[in-house]
């Protein structure tokens, strides 16, 4: 709509067009949205540089980047799940009480007493499982396309840290509902990870804040889950994205060894 209204220039007559062009001329609108609808070279570049979020992208991308079968969007979807989890997680935090046994009852009340509570808890849970899957698939994509080579070496290492952080964020969240599923899955998980040679007992004590899973464990894992791990993960993601831009995205004209095995001939 915006584009059409403007294109007619001074011949516009409709009410909508007139209101729209008045709106666009206001000081408030111009202070928020600093360029015209992106239709030509100049504005297409401006829309990216003027917007913090779009600014993660370069102004130009190679044609290869546009074929969704190259990345399947998995890196971007990892970020999307993270954002969904942060938003739904904040909503859960309004009601959640990290104490024994209040935690369990606060979750149950969240499902039944809070408007859309059940939906947002479902979304948080399924997005968490999805994030683990999507991050793993992203790692597989990067490996099988050989995108870890050359200047991207270290970004792969950052990625391995992000993989571990993703698992830890999911694992610490698993305990919080304090139901039978949570309690015993975490018991098994801590027994797996606590089998460190020589210092296993100490590691278990740090993980559990004691000898058993208690209210102290819950507070510790809650803190890790809602603040500590997401902050580190967010910071690492910024590094990760910065490096993707700086190292150059791998979807350029490949240095061929053979023709492309899946997509047919390497495009010339």
């Amino acid at each position: 709509m915006a584009g059409n209204g403007e294109a007619k220039g001074s011949q516009q007559t409709g009410l909508f067009d007139r209101v729209w062009s008045w709106l666009k001329s206001t000081e408030l609108f111009r202070s928020i949205y600093q360029n015209d609808y992106p239709r030509d070279r100049r504005t297409r570049v401006m829309v990216l540089t003027n917007n913090l979020f779009l600014h993660l992208h370069p102004n130009l991308v190679t044609r290869y980047s546009i074929d969704y079968r190259y990345t399947w969007g998995l890196g971007g979807l990892s970020l999307a799940t993270f954002i969904i989890l942060a938003l739904t997680g904040a909503f859960l935090m309004f009601y959640y009480v990290p104490a024994v046994p209040d935690a369990y009852f606060s979750i149950r009340a969240f499902d039944t007493d809070v408007a859309l509570g059940q939906f947002f808890r479902n979304l948080h849970r399924w997005a968490a499982h999805t994030m683990v899957i999507v991050v793993m698939l992203h790692m597989f994509r990067v490996f099988y396309t050989g995108s870890y080579k050359g200047p991207r070496k270290f970004n792969w290492v950052i990625g391995v840290f992000l993989y571990m952080l993703t698992l830890l964020m999911s694992f610490t969240g698993y305990l919080l509902p304090w139901d039978q599923l949570a309690y015993w899955a975490i018991t098994v998980g801590v027994n797996i990870g606590g089998a460190v040679p020589f210092v296993g007992d100490q590691v278990r004590r740090i993980l559990l804040a004691g000898f058993d899973i208690t209210g102290a464990t819950l507070v510790r894992w809650y803190t890790l889950h809602v603040i500590f791990l997401p902050l580190i993960a967010f910071w690492m993601m910024l590094l990760h994205f910065y490096r993707v831009r700086k190292d150059g995205f791998s979807a350029t004209k490949p240095i061929p060894i053979e023709d492309h095995p899946i997509l047919g001939k390497v495009k010339e």
């Binding site: 100049r42 149950r108 396309t145």
Partner: protein, 238 residues
């Protein structure tokens, strides 16, 4: 060069761009936007249709049978059934993560970057390795369930401490290394042209396939007291 006025209208410059690039807005952003919308809609649909589980209040005195870790740790829980806990829970996953992180520092040939599986041969090697790993992992799990190394070692008349040490540590390490290195050797023999990148494709696929196979076994084939069952025989933990 195009005239400034033409450029302002969106005309591309006449000089060919060596990288063959296009404007991010709208060509790339539209793909990204559609992908995001499809993904978010699917997640919302799932969340409307499926409830997140909430069982009874945690009871520390009452252990459900079986007690399983979250699904992404089931592969490690499965290893735990077959070897020493330090090996299954810490040393093997730690070594795997270290090896994965080190890949770029050992595979530096940049040819083929940005091409799925690098070459057609890479696709074949990937398929071969996936099937190879699936067969090995399944066979090893079945062997340990129905025969096991320890009964065999006891038959040889070894003392208990030796049986424990060999069965829990030495044999699992040897078996894991064999599965891994044998594949590298087989790939080199079958595909004499395979360079380092192609051998790495085989080895990384060992990780991918064993994670998937072990997770499926742990989720759908481990029942009461972690004995093997068919998926339709699975009972709720009790």
């Amino acid at each position: 060069m195009a005239q400034p006025a033409d450029q302002a209208q969106g005309a591309q410059p006449k000089r060919p761009d060596p990288l063959d690039r296009v404007y991010t807005w709208p060509h790339f952003l539209i793909v990204e936007f559609i992908g995001l919308m499809v993904f978010v809609v699917l997640l919302f649909l799932v969340s409307v249709l499926l409830k997140a589980p909430l069982l009874d209040l945690a009871q520390p005195e009452y252990t459900p049978n079986p007690a399983k870790a979250p699904w992404y740790f089931l592969s490690l829980q499965e290893l735990l059934l077959h070897m020493h806990p330090s090996l299954a829970g810490v040393i093997v996953p730690g070594a795997v993560l270290l090896l994965i992180a080190a890949i770029p520092y050992f595979d530096k040939d940049e040819r083929g970057t940005g091409v799925w599986f690098t070459t057609r041969m890479g696709v074949d090697i990937y398929r071969y390795s996936f099937i190879y790993t699936t067969i090995w992992v399944t066979a090893l799990v079945l062997f340990d369930e129905f025969v096991g190394t320890k009964p065999v070692l006891r038959l040889l008349g070894l003392p208990d401490s030796a049986v424990e040490f060999l069965g829990n540590i030495v044999i699992p390490v040897i078996v894991m290394l064999t599965v891994f290195l044998l594949l590298a050797w087989l790939v080199k023999r079958r595909w004499p042209n395979a360079d380092r990148r192609h051998v790495f494709i085989a080895m990384f696929t060992v990780y991918v396939a064993s994670f998937i196979v072990l997770t499926i076994i742990g989720s759908f084939f481990r029942g009461e007291s972690m004995y093997l069952v068919w998926p339709w025989e699975l009972t709720h933990p009790h």
